[in-house]
Amino acid sequence: MESAYRVKTGSFEGPMELLLSLIEKRKLFINEISIAEVTNDYLSYIKNLGEFSLSRTANFIMVAATLILIKSRSLLPELKLTEEEEAGIDNLEERLTLYRIVRDASVKIKELLAGPTIWERPFVRNRQIVFSPDPKFTITNISAAIASVVNNLPKKEAPLPKVVVKKVISIEEMIESITKRIEEGLKTSFKKLSGHSDKIKSKEEKVYIIVGFLAMLELVKQGIVLVEQHNNFEDISIKTNHLQLTTDPSSRDYLLRGRPTTNN
């Protein structure tokens, strides 16, 4: 069971691919509403990212941040978002649309690659070779060139770029603040909860969903902490290089039940 799940999760290289596939699986269009609907699926996916490298995990977490905003607003429409947060949401929609265009194009590119080739004329020189050195080929220059080659060899495991780490860490604050805002919203606007779009659900169900969502945010935060730790302590063992969110079966079960069960 566990390994079967891993095979499935390993098939997504990046967040766009995952998000698009979740939306398409439900046959939805790309818009804020559909993105909100698949947020829980997305978050529970990144909870199981165990097999991925840290940099991949960071990519997934960064997109998760925007999803969390979208989802939060869909749960509590009165939640005020900052301008920057709004821009992030528009941005994600656009990127998703772009990504889909590229993915569709790549299918055609693959077909073309399988088709005919325009062959080049092979390189042959039947001339007598006359030794013609470049005067710049001196021992000094060659030794400088090889030094720069060695110097430019890609490092075995590139550390996470600072910008990415900073972003991931700031997401932690973002989640904290959104959690606070949602909790406050829950208290103050409990009455309004049943009033918006999701008419099918009862108030209790609604609260249940929100609490589940908040618990999910906790899990995402743990992943962020790992990214942060990894960067402060470069030589953490391989095992902890990966995102290891809680796999406590009871909590997963809880989260699964907390997921909205809309069928479209």
């Binding site: 590229v102 993915r103 005919p116 430019n152 770029p161």
Partner: protein, 191 residues
């Protein structure tokens, strides 16, 4: 057929690799416009023939008509590995439809750091890096090998080129992901 066109065709035949148009102008002692015109005419004259003209913004080269692909492969006995993984296909598609393109733009669309896959594609000779005249970061563009493998004479011949190109062009306004710097290396291949 004009003299300059004959000379260009002959040069490309002998040289067997992409030839910069600028260099053609120098060698032939004419301006670049004259070269462009001759190339346009050559292209027209080669249309429907056994030899085709492949081109990108800077260079041109000759290649065997894709209709003969199977036969040519049989006599060359050369095997091409044209397999690209999904990441490779996506990255190559972005570069084909939006070239020249920055790494940060590729990362923005794909939502991942494309460093490894770019390096891989560079090594395989499917894409090349050119300096960005407008500032930091390198630009990436398809190589002639990539066009040849696809069997197209230029990027405009790709499926839905117009619409995909427009879609990718328009997003620029939306701002880019300020990712890490380009770490595929900075050496230029001026070969």
């Amino acid at each position: 057929m004009k003299n300059i066109e004959i000379l260009i065709e002959a040069l490309l035949f002998v040289k067997t690799e992409p030839f910069p148009k600028k260099k053609l102008a120098e060698l032939l002692k004419v301006d670049e416009e004259a070269v462009d015109q001759a190339i346009l005419s050559l292209k027209k004259n080669l249309n429907g023939r056994g030899v085709r003209l492949i081109e990108n913004a800077e260079s041109v080269m000759l290649g065997a008509a894709p209709e003969a692909s199977g036969l040519v492969e049989a006599i060359l006995k050369e095997e091409l590995n044209k397999d690209l993984g999904r990441a490779g296909l996506e990255t190559v598609s972005i570069i084909l439809y939006k070239s020249p393109v920055l790494k940060s733009e590729i990362d923005f669309i794909r939502g991942v750091n494309s460093q490894f896959i770019l390096r891989n594609l560079l090594i395989r000779g499917l894409i090349e890096r050119i300096p960005n005249p407008k500032g930091r970061g390198n630009l990436y563009q398809p190589t002639f090998d990539l066009l040849r493998f696809l069997g197209v004479e230029n990027v405009k011949a790709l499926p839905s080129y117009q619409s995909v190109e427009t879609a990718l062009k328009n997003f620029q306004s939306a701002g880019k992901m300020e990712t890490d710097e380009d770490e595929t290396g900075s050496e230029q291949n001026t070969a």
